[in-house]
Amino acid sequence: MTLSTFTRRAALAGLGGALTLPAIRPSLAQAAPIKVGVLHSLSGTMAISETALRDTVLMMTNWINGRGGLLGRRVEAVVVDPASNWPLFAEKARELLQVARVDVTFGCWTSVSRKSVLPVFEELNGMLFYPVQYEGEEESRNIFYTGAAPNQQAIPAVEYLMGADGGEAKRIALLGTDYVYPRTTNRILRAFLNSKGISDADIMEEYTPFGHSDWQGIVARVKRFAGEGKRTAIVSTINGDANVPFYRELGNQGIKAEDIPSVAFSVGEEELAGIDTRPLVGHLAAWNYFMSVQSPVNTDFLNMWRAYINNPRRVTNDPMEATLVGFKMWTQAVAQAGTTAVDAVRTAMYGQKVDAPSGYTLEMHRNHHLSKPVMIGEVQANGQFNIVWKTPNAIQAENWSPFIPENANRRRG
């Protein structure tokens, strides 16, 4: 199995070299191709999450070329490897915009990588689609954010935990990796919890470094925190890599979801693929999409993805869906604008709608964020999520959170 994967990967690597792309139709080959930059780490610590997004963009370029391209031109992906190195992200962004002259870029996962490339995209008036949920507090005219803002993920999830179905939690342990997304999200959540009558004494907040692997002490402290006679829940903003050891420890120390449920904002199907989920049944995650969504668009997405990656067991996740939605929206905007020029496409993007795999129709708003549905899923024994709650409609992003008081006197740009 591994050998065949290897050859396939190696073949893909050749592709990744960028300039060879899918079978070119003669009619399409004549006009100069439209170029799509792919700025995702293929090595280093973030490769674990970002390689799947690179593959998603490549799949989508295949898809659009299969439909005759865009504006009668072929769409070509330019893949680079910023290697989980933040200054390299900025360098590669500049290279994509100035040397490869891409028309649009899909990329970044971590906030810091986005912060690193943001000045470059603004200086050179490029266009970046950013597909991951993040802490908000940003709005660049050169970036379209297709992941969730905190009000589209964190707050509904905590409301669910405090409701009857979620176990009426009265004490909350906020566990996170020490970087800006968890810090900001937890600050917003703390303000939200205080507004719901949960005092600071009933909130525990603890941060760990990236890739933290020894969770014994913290899980034991959470157990102790839960031993104060009030229903307790964990809200986890733990980043990708540290989740496997965290959940293993949770399972081994016998923390059952019925007693202390945990809800995570960064754990999706890809992360669960590395864990035996049987001891974790019932723990929760909040996203805007789950692979288990039943919708015709999602079925198409799954089939296309598995055919492309040539593996019938590969999973999809929320950032992949966000990438797909962003790509489709961009193609619609380009078709509507009749050009790939950034300013025209930007105007065309506002109000653009896409039927997303999540089963909802998503719209791009003038604040450069999507309206998104919020879903809460329980981990099942097979590594998938059972959707136990979702919003009736897609909700708009509040990228400037009302729970951060300083936003009141923010300068409106």
Binding site: A18, D81, E91, R94, E95, Q98, V180, R187, P209
Partner: protein, 367 residues
Amino acid sequence: MSATLADPADSRARLGFRAGLAGAVLLLAALPALNTLPADHALHVSDFIVSVTGKWICYAILALSLDLAWGYAGILSLGHGAFFALGGYAMGMHLMRLIGPRGAYGHPVLPDFMVFLGYTDLPWFWRGFEHFPYAMLMVLLVPGALALVVGFLAFRSRITGVYLSILTQAMTYALMLAFFRNDMGFGGNNGFTDFKELLGMPLGTPGARAALFYASLIALVASFLVCSALTRTKYGRVLTAIRDAESRARFLGYDTTRHKLFAFVLSAMLAGLAGALYVPQVGIINPGEFSPGNSIEAVIWVAVGGRGTLVGAVLGAFSVNALKTWLTSAAPDLWLFVLGGLFVAVTLLLPRGLIGLFGGRRKGRDA
């Protein structure tokens, strides 16, 4: 047996060598000028090339500083990235203070990250960084002071070789962990970004880019001249003697601790300077710069170029980084093989580095 004991018959070759160096500097200096040519001109150089070259020049200064410590004083520091990053952070703090009320929240004093993390006052160690001269002083003093403390403790207890390398690696690792903490007041993982201006120049304009480019180039040439003058003095010869046989030098009555300490501190300050020039050009400083891998990479530039020759260090920094820039776009899945293979090949086949191909003149044994 050191590079300073010139062979008279060699002088013509040396003249040619110097001419070559001067030519290379002139070529570099011409880049921003060529950038101003119209885009369709045959000699036009893109913004990308200028900015990426500016970055390499900073790396070259770092390589130079490392070569001073390793190639001449025999101190293999696996933590030079820490000095580079500290210089960068000092510059970053200055740039952050210059943003002033132009941040997203419009706070007159506090940078954005402090505002949304709920700071009410500027931490004490941020005071004074709004003044350029103070910030520049810190760029040199902070790395210098750290090197002084670590170096003093280490050299006094005669920690050398591999132990010293591991010690410096632990130093940069500990700093990385500490800077990742948001509670430190340095912006945690996100570090500093979105700089607006420096010395009144708005950043991100061709003018600012050219100015920073020239500042870095001047810093590189100046550091090169200082290092090369230093290695020619008696002090430099003693340093080389210590590298080659520390006990013998000590028995001859030289205070080896002080000699090494001076070289180490100077080297750390140069690294800090490189970091300070680097940050406004790449537009970001974050704790990732402290990661031990970065410091090892810097060592590899020096090894690839040829350690113990200042030109080699500079050459190594340029060539490895150019290769990396090219490969991460041309072969995004395979570049690690090429780069890893290069390190293996150079250490095995070219012990004197690339400069050895040109008949470079590093002599003396390994520490």
